[in-house]
């Protein structure tokens, strides 16, 4: 637990050490870390394929964006965004109870595609595929934005970590490995799954909405597109599944690696993806797992 504290202290020192550019990168990384951690709670544990984290993120982000466009304050828009994400989360939870594996994966994929189509078709309300620009933002100051995102990230991390180690996490794991046995033991699998969906939706939607008020704009390419979901999945798996902390670490590693390699040019994505693939093939426990192994054998 105290290694987490060490990392937190390091991150807290960044505003003094780093430039506005590093702060900006880390701000986005913090929000993406929330996405990845929420994904890990639900699917890292439940061993199911979920292509649709962006269904929840996009719902939260676009609802908040549209509300603000219409003149509602940031606080009100955030609340609306979270509410929308919750509704979507529950909508996803229903098929989740009946379907498993690739079938559920397909429903999550379809949900993202449907949301994307809805945004394009209702262009007068959503801005279409180029997105919308919001009136208000949290702040023009990079430090303020950083503290806000870091705060949300840490809060989410702590909550999800505690949850994952509580009965909810254990039951999710148990039901993913042997559904019948878990039910036979008297656990209400459905209730726990729905709870997990709600919590995942809460944080994903919140972080998605907050991202909009950092960036000043929301578009399909930033909060809905499947490629965002892919980034989230890869971050979580690279960092180490079922650790919550690993998802955050993986996100940080991928985003920072991408930025550090920027001078290389267009093959940057190729290199980062290649490194991630090698890492996954050789270190299935992820960054966290490898770090633990190093720590134990020292």
């Amino acid at each position: 637990m105290w290694k987490l504290l060490a990392v937190f202290l390091l991150l807290a020192m960044v505003p003094w050490l780093g430039s506005a550019y590093l702060l900006g990168t880390l701000t986005v990384a913090c929000y993406f870390a929330v996405f990845a951690m929420s994904w890990d709670l639900l699917f890292g544990f439940a061993n199911e394929v979920n292509f649709g984290p962006t269904f929840l993120i996009g719902a939260g982000a676009y609802t908040a964006g549209m509300l603000n466009w219409a003149g509602i304050s940031i606080a009100g828009s955030l609340f609306g965004g979270v509410a929308a994400a919750e509704v979507c989360g529950l909508a996803l939870a229903v098929p989740a109870l009946r379907l498993t594996g690739p079938y559920f994966g397909l429903v999550t994929l379809a949900s993202v595609l449907l949301l994307q189509q809805a945004v394009i078709i209702f262009a007068p309300f959503t801005g279409g595929e180029i997105g919308l620009t919001v009136r208000d933002v949290f702040s023009a100051d990079p430090e303020t934005n950083y503290w806000i995102s870091l705060g949300v990230c840490v809060l989410t991390g702590v909550v999800l970590l505690l949850l994952s180690r509580s009965s909810v996490g254990l039951i999710l794991q148990a039901s993913s490995q042997d559904r019948l046995a878990a039910a036979a033991l008297g656990f209400n699998v459905a209730k726990h799954k729905i709870a997990a969906f709600s919590i995942s939706a809460l944080f994903s939607g919140l972080a998605g909405a907050m991202l909009v008020f950092y960036m000043g704009a929301a578009s399909i390419g930033t909060v809905i597109d499947i490629s965002i979901g892919v980034q989230i999945i890869i971050s979580a798996v690279l960092g180490g599944r079922r650790t919550i902390f690993g998802a955050a670490l993986g996100t940080l590693a991928l985003i920072l690696a991408g930025e550090a390699l920027r001078p290389v040019g267009e093959i940057r994505t190729f290199l980062v993806s290649g490194a991630a693939l090698v890492a996954i093939l050789f270190f299935p426990d992820g960054l966290v797992g490898q770090a633990s192994r190093l720590w134990r054998t020292r």
């Binding site: 506005a20 394009i120 578009s219 991928l254 920027r262 267009e266 490898q290 770090a291």
Partner: protein, 414 residues
């Protein structure tokens, strides 16, 4: 096993270190840095960085700005808005760029707009046509004055298409009705609206309006519908799609010609990409077609680009080139690093670039900070693919090339 583990740990730690480090670059205080954000895997994207490079070299050859040379810092954003924002932050904070140009994608330009304001750095988009960019600037000028749309708006593009139809086709053929045929995208909404307006102004009836999803796999239903409406012409807006409808148009031998804005068709490689299906397509933004000479700067730029990079410049290279010159002139004029003065100087831009006389609309005009369109200002040349060449057909080139359509096209003569 231990070796593998060690190697692996080393790889992991390096990834983290590389990831965690923020490279510190000692900025050369002698050069003026200008940022360029481009999409290097896309043809129009490479046009931006290459066109900018030629402009920078021209400026440096002429002595730079007040004796200081320009240095371009070019970043790839992979056509993603979030990536472009980070590139912008890096350009301003790490590389100390005085101004940024880039991206032909409207979504990216819109995402960068707030950041131009927040960092008080002038940003000129190069090739994004959406009306939205200038609409936002006009709607809240005080909060958006650092963004410039270095390109024609969708409305201007539509007007230019109508001009071309009038001058090129209506003289020779009887055009009574047309079907508007566009991809369902944000930039085509005002385009189609203006098409409806200006076509009516020409006395051409709009027989139908087909907007299709960008992921359409099968265009046969759409072409069949257009034919059923007995129109003479397809007036087109395609940018994110291009090869799909055009290949199927040629394969199905649809008897209506396609005239309009078809961005992808202006790529020099498009004939090869479509195996000749693009024969007879008439598109605006054909700046590098044979015979186009909008200004004395146009042809020399095309020749230099072709010589240096082995291929003709895509349409985005022209605004990129002109935007660098506009920025350089503004920096020289302002004479100071004060961002507000720089923005003021940019607003007063007035010089002859490769696409025409470069001026930006003012805060009172509808399309604030977009390129001014009109006679004597920026024009939109139309080209037609004929026998593997892009031939300038409108405005009438010195060569006087005529429009020539494939055999399956039916156009009634006047």
């Amino acid at each position: 096993m231990a070796c593998r583990s060690f190697l692996g740990s080393f790889a992991l730690v390096s990834l983290l270190l590389v990831g965690g480090g923020s490279p510190l670059r000692a900025a050369d205080p002698q050069t003026i840095k200008i940022g360029v954000i481009a999409e290097e895997s896309a043809l129009p994207g490479t046009g931006i960085s290459k066109g900018a490079q030629i402009a920078a070299d021209e400026i440096n050859a002429a002595g730079g700005i007040a004796g200081r040379k320009i240095e371009l810092v070019i970043y790839d954003d992979h056509s993603q808005a979030a990536d472009a924002v980070r590139a912008f932050q890096r350009l301003v904070n790490e590389d100390k760029a005085v101004g940024v140009i880039g991206s032909y994608i409207s979504e990216v330009a819109l995402a960068l707009q707030p950041w131009a304001q927040r960092t008080k750095t002038p940003y000129i988009s190069t090739g994004a046509a959406s009306n939205e960019i200038s609409r936002i600037i006009h709607g809240d000028y005080a909060h958006n004055r650092f963004t410039f749309q270095g390109w024609l708006t969708s409305s201007a593009l539509a007007d230019s298409v109508c001009d071309a139809i009038k001058g090129l086709l209506m003289q020779k053929y009887a055009i009574k009705s047309a079907v508007i045929f566009s991809e369902d995208a944000a930039w085509t909404t005002p385009l189609d609206a203006e098409y409806a307006n200006c076509l009516a102004g020409l006395g051409i009836g709009v027989a139908g309006h087909i907007r299709f999803a960008e992921d359409t796999a099968d265009y046969s239903p759409l072409f069949s519908q257009a034919e059923d409406k007995k129109a003479d012409l397809l007036v087109v807006g395609l940018s994110h799609t291009g090869i799909q409808p055009i290949v199927q148009w040629a394969q199905q031998q649809v008897p209506l010609p396609m005239v309009g804005i078809l961005s992808q068709s202006t790529n020099g490689t498009f004939w090869k990409d479509t195996n000749g299906a693009t024969d007879g397509i008439v598109s605006g933004m054909g700046f590098s077609a044979d015979g186009v000479a909008l200004t004395p700067e146009t042809q020399p730029f095309v020749k230099e680009y072709t010589r240096r990079f082995g291929a003709p410049p895509p349409y985005s290279a022209f605004p990129a080139h002109d935007s660098i010159h506009a920025l350089a002139r503004a920096i020289a004029k302002a004479g100071t690093a004060d961002p507000d003065k720089l923005a003021d100087a940019l607003e007063q831009t007035d010089f002859v670039g490769t696409v025409g006389r470069i001026q930006y609309y003012s805060a009172d005009e509808q399309f604030t900070h977009a390129l001014k369109y009109g006679p004597g200002l920026v024009q939109n040349p139309f080209m037609q693919w004929q026998k593997a060449h892009q031939v300038a057909v409108w405005p009438r080139a010195a060569t006087g090339a005529e429009a020539a359509f494939p055999a399956f096209i039916h156009l009634a003569p006047r």
